[in-house]
Symmetry: C2
Subunit: 454 residues, 2 copies
């Protein structure tokens, strides 16, 4: 059926509407890898909810884990809590908590009330953490044995619960005394040890741990410095609360870098997907645009101060947007390198002066090159060396200004506790625009006798 | 020693210069987590090389794994091959291959000649893959046993090589017949099985595999759909070539999203770090800027066609950069959402029309809002309703144009095989600038009698 293949959402929408569970489950199972998110996006909103109701909870959970979190939360919100709870039950603890954390408070409470009490209390605890700290990233599915155990006890427990544990990411088992981690057992060591051996002899003692409020950067540094697959997380009283795995940290870093990119381009307030309601999308974009329009008016007001110069040298009007745009480009390159170096940890806010000195040299070279290019364009267009000198000098100097600001502003914003991904762009363009308009128009005013009439 | 703590690179530079190995090794070991990259960046270039020569190869390898790859390759390049080879020997196969792949050909060959023949041939094979396909991401450290083995054979081998395997990320052992994977052994199952059992009975048969040329997106989809920690990679003849782990894929996705952000801001040709030579940094940035300056001149030439209008309504010069900048902002928001949705897999290039229809509605709303704002500013400034109408209408319409182009251009570029992260920005700003200048100045020309003298 080539048609069903090319438009699988149509077939799924049809099966959803007639309520054919079996055919639906096999249609979902047959979706090509990575197609689930796109197919669900294409379904009408009612069909998405209906689809989840019809699928077996385990299959529904698989589907939900494949679609973006913000979309998944919107879907779960539409389901009655008694239908959502069995689906959540099939998901790992960290994803449960992320979804519950993304729901509005009343919906979250209603859902928790439908879950098994122990699972609900775990999820409530995990959802109470900030998303980008160890507590928010950890899983609570781990193996944990008292210090007095023997190897045979551990193996016996694993055998007994092998079905449950088959969903765990088991690399290590943790040894605890009064809830505090005292050692780590490597699964490989367990495999090779005699059954009678005490785990206290086999374990690696005094395991490294991280605090449950350790931020993502600290976790990234931890896994950079240690070749571990996971690290135990302890709460304020020193008790084992969960395990953060390397892959959780990698996923969170990828998500953060995606969010930073969106913010730097003016998508604020979390992710935007085009499946979201029109008014939400419009309002969020507009909140950032309207600040920018004000900043733009402020910057352009510099031009208004030089109306007489513009009146006599109308050719300058052509170069105003060029100076503004090119300085923005140069400055944004410097912003991008600083953001990247901050992420990689090769610079810190205190390095602003060093960064600035590195940008000045690039700014001098590139300013010179761009200034010469634009001067040549001006000369070719109007045949005036003076016009070339004015626009060339203004662009050259303003490139220097732009890279200086672009390189250092992310560091200064970070030091002030402002999110550099969000604020660097607007600060950069406002200041460089004002400065560029001022340079071009004041140079032109000084050279007015040689420029008039161009 | 508070001074040594606040400026550890000074102490390390000092120890490097006097050549005190022991003190150096303890100083490096004492570096706070995540500080290594920043400290190495602060050392003069000669000291960086000298430091690696003085450190024990294992410690040097640890240090190199913590600094950005491009910086690590530059460092390795400076070392004599006979000093670099022992350091590489201490690194996992995928990182070895990445570093060798980043070296110029003669240096790579010299280094391979110094390595153990088997290690060198592995590294050569891995380095021959593109970096973002399964072959380029896989590791060759995995456990692999013939189909005829018994559980006791496997455990015996693991015991015998426990020191070597301690560096492996062991979740599974693979069962092969004539080099082809026939099954996967879960480590947990091995743990619980009787020694005499044949692995052929214990293993999961017909394991899923990926081809060595499977691209990163396919791998991301694979791990989205399957809760595995790793997947065996097979070459064209179906033989087991390595294992790609979930964490390798997560790391590669994070790296790609970082690279996309840099490209979208005009940092081309790979990563830029400020430790790179000035001329390299300047040249790379300039290659992108000089294309942009040409595109800017083309766009601004629209303004030159309306010199007479500008001459009579000089106030328009103030609004030219505002229209250009605000349309760029609106368009870049749409670009960012499309790039994000492409990454998440919720849209594909064939969805361009649907994306466009979703953008049109946001563009109408936001264009109206921004148009009213700028019209109010114009009215307040010059007291002319006509000026307000002209600039408001131009910005409103051009917002619609900008989001239409911004939303669809990444999809069209992707379909044409052009990198949307690199090209979307310049295409967007050039077209929207031209269109915006044309709208503003042609509306003004039509209304000239009511605007003259503003």
């Amino acid at each position: 059926m080539p048609e069903a293949d090319s438009r699988p959402w149509e077939r799924i929408a049809e099966l959803t509407e007639v309520g054919d569970r079996e055919a639906l489950e096999s249609a979902v199972a047959e979706l090509p890898q990575g197609e689930a998110a796109r197919v669900v996006s294409r379904l009408p909103a009612e069909d998405q909810t209906q689809l989840l109701k019809l699928l077996d909870p385990e299959l529904a959970a698989d589907l939900i884990e494949q679609i973006p979190e913000v979309q998944a939360a919107a879907l779960i919100e539409q389901l009655p809590p008694e239908e959502a709870a069995p689906i959540l039950h099939e998901m790992p603890s960290d994803e449960q908590a992320d979804l519950i954390g993304a729901l509005p408070e009343p919906e979250a409470q209603a859902l928790l009330a439908e879950m098994e009490p122990e699972e609900a209390s775990d999820a409530r605890r995990l959802a109470s953490y900030l998303p980008d700290v160890a507590g928010g990233l950890m899983v609570t599915e781990y193996l944990c044995y008292p210090t007095s155990s023997q190897v045979a006890d551990v193996l016996g427990d694993m055998r007994e619960h092998s079905h449950l544990y088959s969903k765990y990411d088991v690399q290590y088992a943790y040894v605890v005394s009064n809830g505090r981690p005292t050692g780590v057992l490597n699964l490989r060591d367990l495999l090779l040890a005699p059954g009678r051996q005490a785990v206290a002899e086999l374990m690696i003692r005094n395991p490294l741990t991280v605090a449950d409020d350790a931020p993502l950067d600290e976790l990234a540094d931890f896994f950079d410095s240690h070749a571990f697959f996971g690290v135990p997380v302890v709460d304020r009283s020193g008790k084992l609360a969960g395990v953060v795995r390397r892959q959780d940290v990698e996923e969170a870093l990828a998500a953060r870098s995606g969010a930073d990119y969106l913010k730097s381009q003016g998508i604020v307030g979390g992710e935007e997907l085009r499946t979201m309601p029109l008014l939400t999308r419009s309002r969020r974009r507009l909140s950032w645009l309207s600040i920018n329009v004000l900043l733009n008016v402020v910057a352009a007001s510099v031009i208004a101060l030089y109306q007489e110069t513009l009146q006599s040298v109308i050719a300058l009007a052509v170069f105003l947007p060029i100076i503004s745009d090119m300085s923005g480009c140069s400055g944004n390159q410097a912003v991008a390198v600083s953001m990247r170096e901050l992420t990689l940890g090769v610079i810190k806010p205190v390095d602003a002066l060093r960064v600035w000195s590195k940008e000045v040299s690039v700014g001098l070279l590139n300013g010179l090159a761009l200034g010469l290019l634009i001067a040549a364009a001006a000369l070719a267009w109007k045949g005036s060396v003076y016009l070339g000198m004015v626009v060339g000098a203004a662009l050259a100097l303003n490139t220097l200004v732009a890279v200086s600001i672009g390189g250092t502003v992310p560091l200064l914003l970070r030091r002030m506790g402002v999110d550099p991904a969000l604020a660097s762009g607007p600060v950069l363009t406002t200041v460089t625009d004002m400065c560029g308009f001022f340079l071009l128009l004041s140079f032109a005013t000084a050279m007015l006798p040689s420029l008039s009439g161009l």
